[in-house]
């Protein structure tokens, strides 16, 4: 075993020295290789972080949201619905929610207006989300007026700005009292936008949803796990599409690697010829060349991955953000939590190192079988 390790060590030593002798050629390849890893890793790291973020956000959301449908469209929940649902076993709490969208012509963006049930906001006051506060330049104590859809003007005093930590969900949020909300939107008394139900046992969620659907045939229960699944597949799908598009780049890179590996310079040929003349076997030359490929791969992979990590988590992924994140006027500013996923690293490795090694095998062999005399003579 020790002899084997010793042999590999010498091979690596030799390979490194021979790589250093042809700096320009190898650095070029290394750069392109690292760039490819960088692009692919950026996509992978960024989507994974987004997925994590979505899962984190939805953790706090209700297990089931019940909407009423009229002619296939989302409609208000009329009075008496909450009672009609009554007590379903396994449901911890039922709560009618009040929320709506408001288009603000000043910044040309939609806000989400909401009357929270848990904490009452005093009449005439508002609590606004961080992005709303940013876009309208609001601070606690300021007054702001909105023209309601009815044409009337309403003035409110801002009493608080929601913390930045919750920005992903609260960027465009405006919280107000229930009475204000109903007056502003002229919302019919006793009606709600939708109903949120919390279910303690995850295994019972589907049963509860089935009971709801049979008790209220005109309603649509939306499960949190379904929302989560949709997010996960959307992000995966986006990542997959980007990777599939980039596969052309991988292919081009494989061709480049093939070319680089097969275009042996006269000096390299002579080197191999001398090695074989002093007793190296074809197998040894192949091993040396494989080490060369392996070392280049490893260096490029590490360099590309680290650069991608810095790009995504230090600098906010300026390169891929528009494709992967989606777009909105009041887009939340959020810090991605650094997360590395083993599966993704393994996948990335397959995407880059595997095509490279597959591409250089044949050129390596061609180089290794050169006869010593013909190599040295040429």
């Amino acid at each position: 075993m020790n002899a084997w390790i010793e042999k590999q060590r010498h091979l690596i030593d030799f390979t490194l020295a021979s790589l250093a002798r042809r700096k320009a050629k190898n650095l070029g390849l290394l750069l392109v290789y690292a760039l490819l890893v960088f692009v692919l890793a950026s996509v992978a790291l960024y989507t994974h972080a987004l997925r994590q973020e979505a899962a984190q956000v939805l953790k706090q959301s209700p297990e089931i949201v019940l909407q009423r449908m009229v002619a296939g469209r989302h409609d208000l929940i009329p009075p008496g619905y909450l009672e009609k649902i009554g007590r379903i076993r396994g449901v911890q709490s039922i709560e009618g929610r009040l929320w709506g969208y408001y288009y603000d012509p000043v910044v040309k963006a939609n806000y989400t207006f909401m009357a929270p049930a848990a904490e009452a906001v005093k009449p005439g006051t508002l609590v606004v989300g961080p992005a709303v506060a940013r876009s309208r330049g609001l601070a606690p104590g300021n007054t702001i007026s909105f023209r309601a859809y009815s044409g009337k003007l309403f003035s409110f005093t801002v009493v608080g700005v929601l913390p930045h930590a919750s920005e992903l969900v609260s960027a465009d949020l405006v919280l107000m009292g229930e009475a204000d909300f109903r007056a502003f939107f002229e919302y019919p008394a006793g009606q709600h936008t939708d109903i949120a139900l919390s279910v303690a046992n995850p295994l019972e969620v589907r049963t509860v949803a089935a009971k709801l659907a049979s008790a209220l045939p005109d309603s649509r229960p939306i499960l949190r796990e379904e929302v989560l699944r949709t997010y996960a597949s959307v992000f995966d799908w986006r990542e997959g599409i980007v990777l599939a598009l980039l596969s052309a780049a991988i292919f081009a890179f494989a061709i480049l690697a093939w070319e680089k590996a097969s275009g042996l310079s006269a000096e390299e040929k002579r080197e191999i010829g001398i090695l074989k003349a002093i007793g190296w076997e074809t197998g040894d030359v192949i091993k040396m060349k494989l080490w060369e490929g392996g070392l280049i791969s490893l260096t490029a992979f590490l360099a590309g991955f680290v650069a991608a990590y810095l790009q995504v988590f230090r600098f906010g992924a300026p390169l891929f953000e528009p494709v992967l994140k989606g777009w909105a006027v009041l887009y939340p500013r959020f810090e991605l939590v650094p997360a590395i996923d083993g599966l993704q690293v393994a996948t990335l490795f397959f995407f880059t190192v595997f095509p490279y090694m597959a591409a250089v095998l044949v050129p390596i062999w061609r180089a290794a079988i050169t006869d010593p005399d013909s190599a040295m003579r040429s």
Partner: protein, 333 residues
């Protein structure tokens, strides 16, 4: 679902592997028919040169297949959140009828690839390449296996539909269900434990014996295969229970999940490595008497057996640690 990054990577890996082996097949036939190490003809020289290429190619493919199994399981486990009713890899693999066959095929390819790599290793160490014909014949046998694994994977991944309600591991591995897995899961802990430890002890003992005396190679390989089955049975019937600290949860895949600290990998990686080494020992035994391999085969086979013995010992120790570390009590003293 085909646009999952890990799925693209897996299909890429097995697609290229099949293509490479298919490209090597005509050459394999030529080697089997025309190889003659004693001859000095130009054709023989060309063949000898080409074996370097195709041996490297095949070795590369096999090594990739070893890693692909890990990626396959890892990916199946991760995708569970996409399917209604799936809690772990079982649900994902159950989405369509090709899931479990694809996994089993990948496992078969894993062990076949390991055996081929062992044969290839001893062959390249002998000066006259005595096993070239055997190696390439085996390659021709491996090609359909790899192609089958690829087709099963392709069918499985193409047939993944998010709206299928799949079944959870609880229904497949419970004592009340029907089928082989359920029968095994219903085994009482004490006999299952006895079986597990006895078979592992025999396997570790035999492989160790072979490593020291270089005898009983076939027995060591057979014991390795038995130890693989016994460990899977052990995981199904008692190790998983202790890990989950739950008397009825028998799933062999949930232990791979982050909720349980990925502890399953600690068990499966040594198990698969040890079994691959043990089977590799068996694959080398027919060539003990080949003149130029008389020194090489016993040495390599002994090293593989050492590895297997160490692996099984590790599996037993890790399983014991899981059992002792758990708060669950299945057997009262």
């Amino acid at each position: 679902m085909i646009f999952q990054p890990a799925i693209i990577a897996l299909l890429l890996a097995s697609g290229i592997a099949v293509a490479m082996l298919a490209a090597a097949a005509p050459f394999a036939l030529q080697v089997i028919r025309q190889w003659d190490i004693a001859s000095g003809t130009e054709r023989q020289l060309l063949l000898e040169r080409r074996t370097y290429l195709f041996s490297t190619l095949a070795a590369f493919v096999m090594v990739v297949q070893l890693v692909a199994l890990l990626l396959f399981v890892f990916n199946a486990d991760r995708m569970a959140e996409m399917f209604v009713g799936a809690m772990c890899a079982v649900g994902t693999l159950n989405v369509n009828p090709f899931g479990f066959p694809a996994l089993l095929a990948q496992m078969a390819v894993f062990f076949l690839a390991a055996a081929w790599l062992a044969v290839n290793h001893v062959d390249t160490r002998a000066p006259d390449y005595p096993l070239v014909r055997v190696k390439y014949a085996l390659l021709l046998i491996l090609l359909p296996a790899l192609a089958l694994a690829f087709v099963l994977q392709l069918k499985y991944f193409l047939g993944l539909r998010a709206d299928v309600i799949t079944s959870c591991c609880g229904s497949l591995f419970s004592g009340d269900a029907k089928g082989l897995a359920a029968e095994v899961a219903a085994l009482k802990p004490l006999p299952a434990m006895t079986l597990f430890y006895v078979v592992l002890a025999v396997a570790a003992g035999l492989t160790f014996f072979h490593a020291r005396t270089r005898r009983a190679g076939y027995a060591a390989a057979a014991a390795s295969a038995a130890a693989f089955v016994a460990t899977i049975v052990g995981v199904l019937s008692f190790v998983s229970l202790y890990l989950y600290e739950h008397p009825n949860h028998h799933c062999p895949f949930c232990i791979l999940k982050p909720e349980y600290g990925h502890q399953g990998y600690w068990l499966y990686v040594p198990l698969f490595a040890a079994t691959a080494a043990g089977l590799g020992t068996g694959a080398l035994q027919p060539f003990r008497q080949v003149a130029s391999l008389r020194e090489i085969v016993p040495a390599v086979s002994a090293r593989l057996a050492d590895l297997a013995a160490f692996g099984y010992l590790l599996v037993a120790l890790i399983a014991t640690y899981f059992v002792l570390h758990s708060n669950l009590i299945l057997i009262e003293h």
